[in-house]
Symmetry: C2
Subunit: 208 residues, 2 copies
Amino acid sequence: MNAITVLLVDDHLVVRSGLRALLGTQPDIDVVAEASSGEEALERVQEHSPAVVVMDLAMGPGMDGIEAIRRIRERNGRQAILVFTTYDSDADIVRAVDAGAMGYLLKDAAPEEIFAAIRGAVQGKSVMSPPVASRLFQQLRNPDEILTPREAELLSLLTEGLSNRELGQRLFISEATVKTHLAHIYAKLGVETRAAAIATAIRREGMR
Amino acid sequence: MNAITVLLVDDHLVVRSGLRALLGTQPDIDVVAEASSGEEALERVQEHSPAVVVMDLAMGPGMDGIEAIRRIRERNGRQAILVFTTYDSDADIVRAVDAGAMGYLLKDAAPEEIFAAIRGAVQGKSVMSPPVASRLFQQLRNPDEILTPREAELLSLLTEGLSNRELGQRLFISEATVKTHLAHIYAKLGVETRAAAIATAIRREGMR
DNA sequence: AGGGCTCTCAGCCATTTGGCTGATACGGCT
DNA sequence: AGCCGTATCAGCCAAATGGCTGAGAGCCCT
């Protein structure tokens, strides 16, 4: 039987080594290449056409994981992409699945979980770490809490520490509109002040 | 020649595997044990008395890396402790060095850097990743920007999104005093609003 | 055509925050 | 004893923020 070919994408060498060592114990899984950036990932996919791409979302400067997923899916849809990352950030999960990820694993997942996810991915099965799945489920249950694109944009700038006036100037809208958006954001995030919104956003949405 | 005995502490199995794989290539370095939590790290140190402890700061629930460093140094000062983590947060660096860490490496360090750090550590040399060293240097150069303990405490609570009133209640001081501290914090962080202070604090101090 | 969502803006008012000045108290250092 | 840093508190005032109501325009979907 043919082994499942895998490409590892992570900007940390130790993580790639660790995955390679772990996956090396499985005869039916074959790590054929590694990449340390989104750009490199695209090249390796072209070269090797791996069956599965295991990818960290957080990568240094340049293309991030989400963008890499999108590009891989666009030009070469045959790969199953597994996200393998440290954080179970709501926004990341949604964006990764949206971009075309087949599964979302946390880095503290047990080896068996990882193996199962890779084997499942080639068969078109979607795999999530339990904590990730429960978060996704919550999101689906509470559509009220999903920010509109404009609100997300504003929230992102909010975490830069801008004032209402500055937000308005940056987005070419009046301060009144800024306040309206903010009020909606607060309601959706379940907070009452801008400070709490920033704290929530940075911590929970992974806006580092 | 006797190999350098090493204990790996990281809550992520893949990271431990990766480090083990990397360090396994060096004949003079011998990984004698692994731990996935601060508590476990203490036990392993007792059991194996490794020459070097390579430790991640961020670990799941329970004892964090800083606390683990402190405890190891307290009861058994013979180990050289190397911090090996993802973030170059100012606060973490200072606290880790304060707790007794010999060096501070980032996870994207080159293998040679890691080997050199371990070898240097047993000889009492202090090793820092270049970006880490430069941050520390900046801290030393700008003593004006170092927060007092009370200010740091307040800033920490600030990132929870509390109001001045709540801050006062939590710290058993008047709102007036809270405002005084805040003004000092803003000046030291070089910001003008609480929002910017929170953003700066969370991003730069690693207050996740 | 109508309903719903998003984005935009306005005005009013209460609360919060920030800037400023000045003050007291304690501890350590010289 | 005197100085400095830290921590505490007060009062005043301007600016920013948040809560509320209401409203028009564009868009998509049925």
